[in-house]
Amino acid sequence: MTLTKTSEGKSLTGTKIDRRSWKLPIAFAIVSVFSGVLFVGFAEDAPTGFNLSTGSDLIQLPVVHLPALATGIVVTILTALIALGSAFMISQDRTVPKWIPIVGAILALTGFLTWAAADETLRVPELLAGSLVLAVPLVFGALGGVISERVGVVNIAIEAQLLAGAFVSAVVGTLTGSAFAGLFAAAVAGMLVSFLLSVFAIKYLVNQIIVGVVINVLVSGLTGFLYSTWLTDNPEQLNNPEGFSTLAIPILSGIPIIGPVLFKQTLIVYLLYIIVAAVAFALYRTRWGLRLRAVGEHPKAADTVGINVTLTRFWNVALAGAIAGLGGAFITLSQTGQFGKDVTAGAGFIALAAVIFGRWDPIKATLAALLFGFASNLQNALSVVGSPVPSEFMLMLPYVVTIIAVAGLVGKSRPPAASGTPYIKG
């Protein structure tokens, strides 16, 4: 009797362990050790400045100075406390509040920045504004991914949609001399790439992952070929688009820190705000969103209530392509000023990661894309102030963050049930 009781008791804890996740304390234990070695052991004993304002701000905030060594010590201790605290809470079967990992991440980031930029001054609004600029194509791409996957078609071709948008907006923008025409043409180009995906994935039921990969290679090859044979010969006539200039929104742009970051941007970025809000709202509150999600979850059920699954998928994948195409336009019209071979540089794949990290939700995917944008920009910001970290290592950062985010932090998430499955009637 005692024997069976023990075995049952064991199994009870056994099942509970399965439910607990020790990721959080382990992650912060690693951060703490890392911080102790790097931020304390290799610290320069000099203050780091954080400049929170730009020259044009209405309210000028003072430059904040943090002593590098002391900050390193504080961060090490606090992250260790978080690790221990969350480990204790999990062992007691209590849920760790959500703000704890967020506070921990901010601490770790502060520690890193203070250490890396010791004896220099970091311009925080510029760091954040740069992050946003790098994140914009990712957000457009991620929205395209969310819509497409929510309707049941895996969109690996985000990279191709961005690239097509970038190429076409450069050419059309130059030929017409109008940035708006370039922007519009980019959406059309993204949509055309989507048509290609739709035809093979929805009509001919080809494996969607393979079609997506093939389309990426195709568009990369095609734009690369046209660029080298055509654009490089006549850069002035073909690859010199009129860009969008920065528009500062009165009053809002004067808010300290976030003002210059969010409200001193180009028109495309403001368009992005509207699209994010519209998609996030419409996906859950409108007939369009309800049908879209129904088709992505259970296409047969949608069919039996009279919804045309094929058409719903076709047009929404097209819409997804158009949105991703706008992201491509942003690259050429606002970031680089012209098209270059493979100018998107894998942004489409990072956007894909943002879709998964954001659990197929427009807002969460946008936040994920912003995080990836920040990781990319950190490298730029730190190379300016001359950080001790080798720049090659910093170049890896966005991808490292992506892998950690998708593999480590996403945990169990449930994609739309029918994503990637072609719908065959009957």
Binding site: T4, S11, K16, R291, D303, V305, G306, I307, G426
Partner: protein, 504 residues
């Protein structure tokens, strides 16, 4: 509303699923469509619902020919359908599911879910359903999901309701309630097409019966006809619905399950501290509504559940913790509930499937090489002794009918020296002829003194095969009763009612 199908013919390649079928459903009648699995009932209804297009024939509503290009057209004509596999979106709420496809909106497309909620409440009130419009469908029990389907159909003002095998997922009590709902619908003037192969239900509720066999209407039957008569009409020959078996001769062999618990990866326990003993020479049937832990229990017996605790001992040997290979070597035969997914490799030949579990050594494999002569001889012999209808032993197993596929699985599992046989849903989707054969084989193993566990959701099968019946509910056995226990009592147990010892 009067519905008439005239000369409907539907082909899939060479197969004629519906061959000139005529069917008339009068207003306010319950019309049973009776036929075996694969007789073409569901195909016919999918044609009616616009999911398939018929090659020939007409659909008439109130004597007017209609063409349905899709389910939307059928719905607009007043036809509603409750599918065998519910057409509900699990992550949507009840209201969202009811609204989907004919949403009420504000302005350009803003959802008005309040209208859908009201609709759900109103229709629920009419029928005495207790449905929360804001509950997620995936959280609802199967019986309630079915009611959501009914609400969904009625919210579109369906005048003809088609129920495709609606009772397959219900407990006997829920089935009774469902019958009452059908009668109420009928009294409100709704016509009902009730598709089933369960004779008991047909006789209880039908106004008219149309029997379909091999894609053709073979006749109308009187609702007062006897079960044997209906069965023979359905199958096309005289059928013996009882199983001949001698009283159980218990042997010393035994399977002892002690405090078995099984959890899934989220920690949810599908089987909880279940204890039961099966003696050699008896069939213990595990009854219960699907999803009460039977699948997990059967899988655990073959070592396919990782998070299992407690103990499973077969003739004194502990099976828990062994892998499937070791358990097979211990003499366990296992027929999984879904033969196409877990029992067979569709793209392999009949012969290869017959040796799947013995690929690790002699006689079929020597020095890592397949012994084709030995295999072919073995397979040919099994083909004959199990009456597997296949063009050859090299035919892909996926080309075989369900009954013949099941025979391949049985032939393989029974060709080893068995010390335990576990059979899940032995006759799911089989025709009556195959059912008889499979039942004989299972009883044959029992008569050799081997403990046998049969897991089945078909109460008829449980009652006719079992020596003892264990009823599972929410991962536990609520009672073990003799095979002659009245159905009403089994039904109550399947709904979770515990039966006291003196009753057993």
């Amino acid at each position: 509303m009067k519905l008439e199908l005239r000369g409907i013919t539907k082909r899939f390649g060479d197969l004629i699923a519906n061959d000139h079928i005529d069917l008339t459903v009068e207003e306010g009648e319950i019309h049973c469509l009776l036929g075996e699995n694969g007789a073409g009932k569901s195909t016919l209804m999918n044609v009616l619902y616009g999911l398939y297009q018929a090659e020939e024939g007409d659909i008439l509503i109130d004597d007017e020919v209609r063409h349905f290009a899709g389910p939307g057209d059928a719905m607009r004509s007043g036809i509603g359908m409750v599918h065998q596999h519910f057409m509900l979106i699990p992550v949507f709420t009840v209201a969202e599911n009811v609204a989907l496809g004919h949403e009420q909106v504000y302005g350009p497309g803003l959802l008005n879910l309040d209208a859908a909620r009201t609709l759900v409440r109103d229709i629920s009130a009419r029928f005495g359903f207790d449905i929360d419009p804001d509950a997620l469908v995936e959280d609802l029990p199967v019986g309630v999901q079915q009611r959501v389907e009914i609400v969904k159909a009625l919210s579109r003002e369906a005048k003809v309701l088609v129920f495709d095998e609606p009772t397959a997922v219900l407990t006997p009590q829920e089935t009774d309630e469902f019958m009452a709902i059908m009668r109420q619908l009928k009294s409100e003037g709704t016509s009902i097409v009730f598709i089933t192969h369960k004779l008991r239900e047909v006789r209880e509720v039908a106004d008219r019966i149309t029997v379909i066999r091999l894609g053709k209407v073979v006749g109308e039957a009187d609702p007062n006809a006897g079960k044997e008569e209906l069965a023979s009409l359905m199958v096309g020959r005289a059928v013996d619905l009882t199983i001949d078996k001698a009283p159980a001769q218990l042997t010393d062999n035994s399977l002892v399950i002690d405090k078995l618990s099984i959890a899934d990866e989220t920690g949810h326990r599908s089987v909880r501290e279940l204890s039961v003993t099966v003696q050699g020479g008896e069939i213990l049937a595990i009854a219960g509504v699907q999803g009460n832990g039977q699948t997990e229990l059967a899988e655990a017996l073959l070592g396919m559940q990782e998070r299992a605790s407690g103990s499973i001992t077969l003739n004194g040997t502990e099976l828990l913790g062994l892998n499937a290979r070791q358990i097979l070597d211990a003499g366990v035969g296992y027929v999984p509930e879904d033969r196409t997914v877990d029992g067979l490799v569709g793209g392999f030949s009949v012969a290869e499937n017959l040796m799947l579990d013995r690929s690790d050594g002699e006689p079929f494999v020597k020095f890592g090489t397949l012994q084709t002569d030995v295999l072919n001889e073995f397979a040919t012999e099994k083909l004959e002794s199990y009456d597997i209808r296949s063009q050859s032993i090299h035919e892909h197993v996926s080309k075989l009918s369900g009954g013949n596929q099941q025979k391949v699985v049985l032939a393989r599992e029974m060709s080893r020296e068995l010390s335990l046989l576990v059979v899940s849903q032995p006759t799911r989707g089989l025709d009556v002829g195959s059912i008889e054969f499979v039942h004989e084989q299972i009883v044959g193993v029992r008569d050799r003194g081997v403990p046998v566990i049969v897991v089945s959701t078909e109460l008829d099968e449980v009652v006719s095969l079992a020596d003892r019946i264990a009823v599972m509910y929410k991962g536990q056995i609520v009672g073990i009763v003799p095979a002659d226990t009245p159905r009403e009592k089994l039904g109550l147990m399947m709904a979770g009612e515990r039966i006291t010892e003196e009753a057993a």
